[in-house]
């Protein structure tokens, strides 16, 4: 196959956000795009996450992004003609400390003000929803029915299929080595497989996005951190909502196939590119899970793996242009929730590339917010 050596836009990263942006461009008839992926599509965090779709956040930006994206996920199965296994079984968020209770009050007030119908739930009501749940230490919970889970692979592979059919080139196993500039404009992207002339680059490289920005002298505050996750054998579905606790750093849900999928964060995790599995995770996950649902003792763990959170100081993504280099769009720093907010940020990125007015105001997500501005910290990160 003849490789393109010139493109209207080069997208770095073959994950949900890179392919999603190309998808929204293609929907508007713009297909002069090359996607570069240094491994295979969906090899990074897009294929390593728990598929959670949550709108219950503490910062207004994340709530806004997640609310609009959830609406878009509701339509996406039909649009891609794929079974994305999108189940809106809700998120049951458990509070275990008084500090959490206070934070949850603020979260629910803000969410309701923004039109999200999150409700307070007593421990007893939580047990009605999930009779197997151990509520002995649960102080309260919040619940939102329209939160849920999606199966990540068909989303990303669905985008890839539509893009290939539209003639968009997706180059796997092609690593970006350098981005060449002329003044404050992008001239070309040099890869492990030749050079592509372009004036537009989207940095959707997840855990590697700071390295990509570095190539044009743009400093991003994102740092990669390993987060581990596991799946059990499948069994009859009994668990409707995703259950999460910020206090424990745990999340788990039951997929359409019946497997429990979940993860727990290690507070001592060191910064860096590390996607190996640990014994700490296996044991901690097992202990915490059987504490939450004692019947899980007899359930078998099938497989564990790890992926990277591309983490920003305020746990909110970096979207849009940068002051130093023209047409260098950021689409990174998702801090562990890049899949669930992807539909709307990808749509907006496509609009920015085409010079259209963004359908959602994303100015507060610019990288410039880190220069002296007061940051609105996101507290509700899990996993």
């Amino acid at each position: 196959m003849k490789m393109t050596d010139k493109a209207g836009a080069v997208i770095i990263g073959g994950g949900v956000n890179g392919l999603g942006t190309a998808y929204h461009l293609a929907k508007k008839g713009y297909t002069d795009v090359v996607i570069l992926e240094k491994s295979y599509i969906c090899s990074g965090a897009s294929g390593r996450n728990g598929g959670g779709i949550r709108q219950q956040w503490s910062s207004s930006e994340n709530i806004k992004l997640a609310m609009e994206s959830t609406k878009m996920f509701e339509e996406l199965s039909d649009e891609l003609e794929e079974d994305l296994e999108f189940i809106q079984g809700g998120y049951l968020v458990l509070a275990f400390t008084d500090d959490e209770l206070e934070q949850f009050k603020e979260n629910v007030a803000l969410q309701r003000k923004m039109g999200l119908d999150t409700e307070y739930v007593s421990p007893e009501e939580a047990k009605e929803m999930v009779p197997q749940l151990n509520i002995s230490k649960v102080k309260a919970a919040t619940f939102n029915q329209s939160d849920g889970t999606v199966y990540p692979f068909p989303v990303v592979h669905g985008y890839a299929r539509v893009l290939r059919e539209a003639g968009v080139e997706i180059r796997e196993h092609t690593e970006v080595l350098d981005i060449e500039t002329s003044g404050d404009e992008i001239a070309s992207v040099r890869t492990s497989d030749g050079k592509i002339k372009t004036d537009t680059v989207v940095n959707a490289a997840g855990g590697w996005s700071s390295d990509i920005a570095d190539m044009v002298g743009v400093e991003l505050p994102n740092k990669p951190y390993r987060h581990e996750i596991m799946v059990t054998e499948p069994f009859a579905r009994f668990l409707e909502p995703m259950i999460i606790s910020f206090h424990h750093g745990i999340y788990f849900s039951q997929s359409k196939h019946g497997n429990i999928v979940g993860g727990i964060g290690n507070p001592d995790e060191k910064e860096g590119i590390n996607q190996r599995s640990s014994l700490w995770f296996m044991r901690t996950m097992a202990k915490t899970l059987v504490d939450f649902i004692p019947q899980f003792r007899s359930v078998n763990m099938l497989r564990q793996w790890a992926g990277l959170y591309d983490t920003t100081p305020d746990a909110q993504p970096i979207i849009g242009p940068v002051p130093e280099v023209r047409r260098f769009y950021q689409l990174n720093g998702f801090s562990g929730h890049g899949f669930m907010v992807s539909p709307v940020v990808d749509k907006v990125t496509a609009e920015l590339i085409l010079g259209e007015t963004p359908s959602m105001d994303i100015e507060r997500l610019s990288v410039e917010r880190f220069e002296g501005m007061d940051l609105e910290q996101e507290y509700s990160v899990v996993g």
């Binding site: 692979f153 296996m282 097992a286 003792r297 359930v299 078998n300 497989r303």
Partner: protein, 89 residues
């Protein structure tokens, strides 16, 4: 004749060939696309078989195929055992 390659997830040779033709030309992406090797056997049966189908389609030798990353635990273990419950040992 239908040849079943992955019994855990019920995947046939035909489906694998179709996926390869759709651009899933390595074991890691075939796995994610078809759920191959994600079932109870963790790929012990289907991976060597798929490796041969893929090698044949790509005109390569089975040893030229990259194996998917092995994920612990290599066989199923209950949470009771992993959590260290005495009565499960």
């Amino acid at each position: 004749m239908t040849v079943t390659i992955c019994r855990c997830e019920d995947i046939t040779e035909e489906e694998i060939v179709e996926a390869i033709e759709d651009g899933y030309t390595e074991l890691e992406s075939l796995k994610r696309h078809l759920r191959l090797a994600m079932g109870q056997c963790q790929g012990k049966t289907c991976i060597p078989l798929t490796e041969r189908i893929l090698a044949r389609k790509l005109g390569k030798g089975p040893d030229d195929m990259d194996e998917p990353t092995a994920r612990p635990p290599s066989r199923q273990v209950s949470f009771g055992v992993l959590a260290g419950d005495e009565d499960d040992r």
